[in-house]
Symmetry: C2
Subunit: 169 residues, 2 copies
DNA sequence: TATTGTTATACTCTATAACTATA
DNA sequence: TATAGTTATAGAGTATAACAATA
């Protein structure tokens, strides 16, 4: 093996490199396709249940969840960032929730261009009720993994998320 | 501890059970939220790149990917199942791809109600070009995980997917 | 001038239900 | 009658760009 001319040797190395690269590409693709299909399955199940049980859509639920975590309210721009959606959409979703009395816009004293969006009392109550059921659904859908496996996956996803937010942006 | 009356003891067990249940629910929710946000980040990045580089949408790309894997063609109903989308949508997406000459409907001799949808030669070429770049993007986006971690995650997702398709349907 | 948020518009995907043609 | 696929419709979410009000 080591008796081959260095040219050939270099070729071998290149071939190995290529092979490894291709294998890695395939592994990444396989991972992505599996992740996507799992996410789509869980997401559409939850979407359907939210609609049939509570007549609410996922983005609306998501906006309320964001506000639940921030009792002091969030600005439109902050909601936009957190929901990974452009401003116009947040306006639309907020409008709907405001009409239903679940959310309110409070003018900020310091910057009168900006609003602070908060859950109303009714919004808090409605969300608490939904969140509990929602959490049980999620637990049910992920019951195929035991505690250890769930933790392992959270760790892997955290690593991935970290690399995504560090590199890409 | 073991000197407590059995009533109290039973209470303790219940509390433990509840605690464990709540912990599990939280773990599942945490996992789901992390998985969702990772998927959304990767998906929107790929969606944007596909649009700006190739002027194609994700569902259209997905349909072509399905056909690439099945050179003999797929019926509309099969595409619908695989893409997890209703029939009307498949008709629409197929129409567009057919207009662009990337896909063709071939009437089935045996059952003249049904079509077999196939990639055209142009479709094959176009897809091959896109798939190569797409795979490189995915590899790049998942480069935060090493080979071992990717494999571990594929395994966990396979387990999850399996439990989802077994239990839920 | 820059920023916050809204409005107007258009596009894609989606589901549902009524429909046509064939089995 | 049942099935394969299409059509028509309506709705949600999305992005973009022009706009108003405030900083």
């Amino acid at each position: 093996m080591s008796t081959q001319p260095s040219n050939q040797h270099r070729d071998d190395q290149n071939i190995d490199l290529e092979t490894r690269l291709t294998e890695d590409h395939h592994a990444a693709l396989k991972l992505w396709l599996r992740m996507l299909s799992c996410t789509v399955m869980v997401e559409s199940e939850i979407r359907n249940r939210l609609r049939s049980e509570f007549e609410i859509t996922l983005p609306r639920f998501d906006l309320m969840a964001q506000l639940e975590r921030h009792p002091d309210g969030l600005r439109m721009g902050e909601l936009s960032k957190r929901m990974m959606v452009t401003g116009g959409n947040v306006t639309g979703i907020t409008d709907q929730l405001e009409q239903e009395g679940l959310v309110e816009r409070v003018i900020e004293a310091k910057d009168r261009r900006a609003y602070s969006v908060k859950l109303t009392n009714a919004g808090h109550k409605a969300f608490a009720r939904m969140a509990q059921v929602h959490e049980a659904w999620v637990a049910e859908l992920f019951s195929g993994l035991n505690a250890e496996q769930k933790n392992a996956m959270v760790d892997l996803l955290s690593k991935l998320k970290n690399s995504l937010t560090t590199d890409v942006s």
